[in-house]
């Protein structure tokens, strides 16, 4: 139990926790102290001074975001002296750069503008010298307009503290100070990984998202709390939509990813160019023709009835939700008795504990990564590992290939040196083990020695690999020996090798969101929803059940995959 400290804010008695800042204590009881450079996700630095408050027996005003509470402290947050000082600070902020609202993308959602309204600034106290600063548009997904920047350094802090990438900093001094990447190269040529966390945390219009700029203010858009489905980390995200169109995706600050998403999670959605499948299609006279759901389901049921159940094969991607996966197993294994499996690996052969969390990573002193490359395949895990390393944890990498994590590793072993890696971890106090599919089974067994000490995080290749594994599904793809084959692809695509195998089946049904080479050779095609059109859940790699929410309404004429499977079962 933390020690309680009694303070008074604006005459009101407050029981704060020792170690809290004045800002935190005030926020806890609903007293709003304005802030610009401060954000709860990063370390306070007291740079902008807009949160200054009057504290009894303190010389001058003090920044609330960095000032710790002490017993008997008396604070005034909106006294005339404080308000005068804040108006003065706003005047200084507006005197540099270009903070002219009518042609700014952030007008209406800008934290600086909101404060000018709050303190009734009807004109600029000090005139802007009007010198233009550069605009950097060298990154693919977002633009940096230095004219809008107030140098709050939130971007620098998320870059180093959360994404652990240390790309951003400042150069020059005084009024010439600007945010820069790698000491002063264009952002697009820097070490920036375009995770977009800086874009999300910018309080003004200095960082602009190319896709969603000018597409809607906060008051005009809807936010749906959901989960990113691009990998098994299952980052908490918010999908921002307007009139049924996805504008952008933001990371959820309160979830295990701490607001951070990766390039894929934040921007991949908007690079989609494949053509959507809109109705069921059946091959007639060697051409794919649109048919009704009834006809398509009847045809599929007929094809399955004609084949002996041993000659029916059904495979699904792990990039699907719990309800669909369960229904898939219930229909094809339970009702039809077919061969079932998944299209991606599910770490099925590993008999290691589950349930390690991203938080365990941050408190680990040693991190063992084996048979996986988190920075390219599970980037947010990669960022967490880098964060932990910056705070003193040691990374032990067990890998045979050119792993992105290699340059952060304290020690690197080849896969057949697992014994040495395990020994290294045994000497540490709180190790975390992350294992991926490239770990050979005989080497993975050696990890069992760490069972009592370490937390284990399985790095499933696809988003709902955890549930697929729990359902006993394996990557046993063998369609060539089947008479009738059903493939549930969702929005994934199939490798050329797998397509070649699938073509050998006598009858091929494909359930997918987009047209692709496999749908061209199928006998029957069913349209599938996209993940953000579903209402459902999945298990992330921590083994936690998380809700995937419907952010846009269902396209007309589409039926969720699990209902399609239920209707198929009714026909069998």
């Amino acid at each position: 139990m933390d020690k309680v400290v009694n303070i008074r804010i604006n005459g009101r008695h407050i029981r704060a926790r020792a170690g809290q800042t004045v800002m935190e204590a005030a926020k806890g009881v609903g007293i709003d102290i304005p802030s610009l450079c401060h954000h709860p996700a990063v370390t306070p630095i007291g740079a902008c001074r807009i949160c200054v408050v009057e504290i009894e027996r303190q010389r001058g005003l003090q920044p609330a975001c960095t000032f710790p509470v002490t017993e008997g402290m008396r604070v005034e947050t909106e006294s005339p002296k404080v308000v005068e000082e804040r108006r003065f600070i706003l005047g200084l902020l507006f005197s540099e750069g270009n903070h002219y609202c009518p042609f700014c993308e952030s007008s209406g959602d800008c934290e600086l503008q909101a404060l000018a309204y709050r303190y009734g600034l009807d004109h600029w106290i000090y005139q802007n010298p009007g010198e233009a600063r550069p605009v950097d548009g060298t990154r693919e997904h977002f633009i940096m307009d230095h004219n809008r920047c107030i140098l709050c350094r939130r971007c620098i802090r998320v870059c180093s503290e959360l994404a652990a990438n240390n790309t951003l900093g400042v150069k020059y001094r005084g009024a010439k100070t600007v945010i820069c990447a790698d000491g002063g190269v264009p952002f697009g040529e820097s070490t920036c990984i375009s995770c977009g966390t800086c874009l999300q945390i910018c309080p003004t219009g200095a960082l602009i998202d190319r896709k969603s700029a000018y597409a809607g203010r906060e008051s005009q858009v809807e936010r749906t709390k959901s989960v990113c489905m691009f990998c098994s980390v299952g980052c908490g995200s918010e999908i921002i939509t307007r009139a049924g169109r996805v504008l952008r995706v933001e990371g959820e600050w309160e979830e295990h990813n701490n607001g951070v998403l990766c390039l894929k999670g934040r921007f991949e959605l908007f690079k989609e160019t494949r053509k959507r499948i809109e109705t069921p299609l059946i091959r007639k006279d060697s051409r794919m023709q649109q048919v009704s759901w009834e006809e398509a389901l009847d045809t599929l049921a007929q094809a399955f009835k004609k084949s002996p159940s041993k000659k029916i094969g059904a495979w699904t991607t792990c990039r699907t939700l719990n309800l669909t996966l369960s229904e898939f197993v219930a229909v094809f294994l339970g009702k039809i008795g077919a061969n079932v499996g998944v299209l991606e690996l599910t770490l099925a052969r590993f008999k290691l504990p589950l349930g390690g969390s991203l938080n365990d990573l941050l408190s680990a002193d040693t991190i063992l990564v084996t048979g996986a490359d988190p920075l390219s395949d599970h980037p947010v895990i990669g960022y967490h590992i880098k964060r932990a390393c910056m705070n003193g944890a040691r990374l032990v990498l067990v890998s045979d290939n050119n792993n992105e994590m290699r340059r952060f590793a304290h020690k690197t072993f080849s896969l057949n040196e697992m014994g040495k890696a395990v020994k290294f971890c045994q000497n540490s106090a709180s190790p975390v083990v992350l294992y991926g599919e490239e770990t050979p089974p005989e080497q993975a067994e050696k990890l069992a020695a760490l069972q009592r000490k370490a937390h284990f995080i399985p790095l499933f290749p696809e988003s709902n690999g955890f549930h697929a594994k729990a359902l006993g599904l394996r990557a046993n793809f063998a369609p060539s020996q089947m008479e009738a084959v059903y493939l549930l692809l969702e929005d994934t695509s199939l490798s050329d090798e797998k397509i070649k195998q699938a073509r050998e089946a006598k009858f091929l049904a494909v359930h997918a969101s987009y047209h692709s080479p496999i749908t061209e050779v199928a006998d029957i095609v069913f349209p599938a929803l996209l993940w953000y059109e579903h209402e459902g859940s999945l298990y992330n790699l921590e083994g936690k059940k998380v809700a995937v929410r419907k952010a846009v309404s269902l396209p007309e004429g589409l039926i969720p995959e699990n209902e399609v499977l239920t209707q198929l079962a009714a026909r069998m």
Binding site: Y100, G120, H123, A132
Partner: protein, 179 residues
Amino acid sequence: MAKIKIATDWLAACAGCHMSLLDLDERLVQLLDKIEITSSPITDLKYPPREGVTVGILTGTVNNTAHLEVARVMRERCQILVSLGDCSVLGGVPLMRNQVKMEDALRRAYVETESTVDGLIPRSEELAQPIFARPLDQVVKVDVYLPGCPPSADAIHFVIGELLEGRIPVLKDQVLKYD
């Protein structure tokens, strides 16, 4: 009681602020019981009378030498000068021109625009010369500010109403807008 005299004029403006003034609609007719608009860009008489007015209202950015003159005359002939609209208060869209060299701006506008054939930059000495664009209060003393692009008719009504009551208006909530 004699009517309060108000004069208004524009500098580098898009006319949006004066459109907003006209958006007062029937309230403008009611106001005319108490005020007299001596001159405005949208009436026959353009210049504030020599004998002076109580309230002068200027919209637009100070953008060339003629604007300097208009601002100076208005300041001399009114008791209370109202800076109306974002261009006048903060500098507005014309301020973007400051970010390029004057010659580049002129060449772009008169020669390089896609719709121009055989363009020529006007150089006659009789014309006003462009200057570094700036808000009104950089040139003359301003008494009342009303930002907005444009300020709403309600905001203009509020400001005139407060001045008629003998108060300097304090802007807040819906009356205070920057865009």
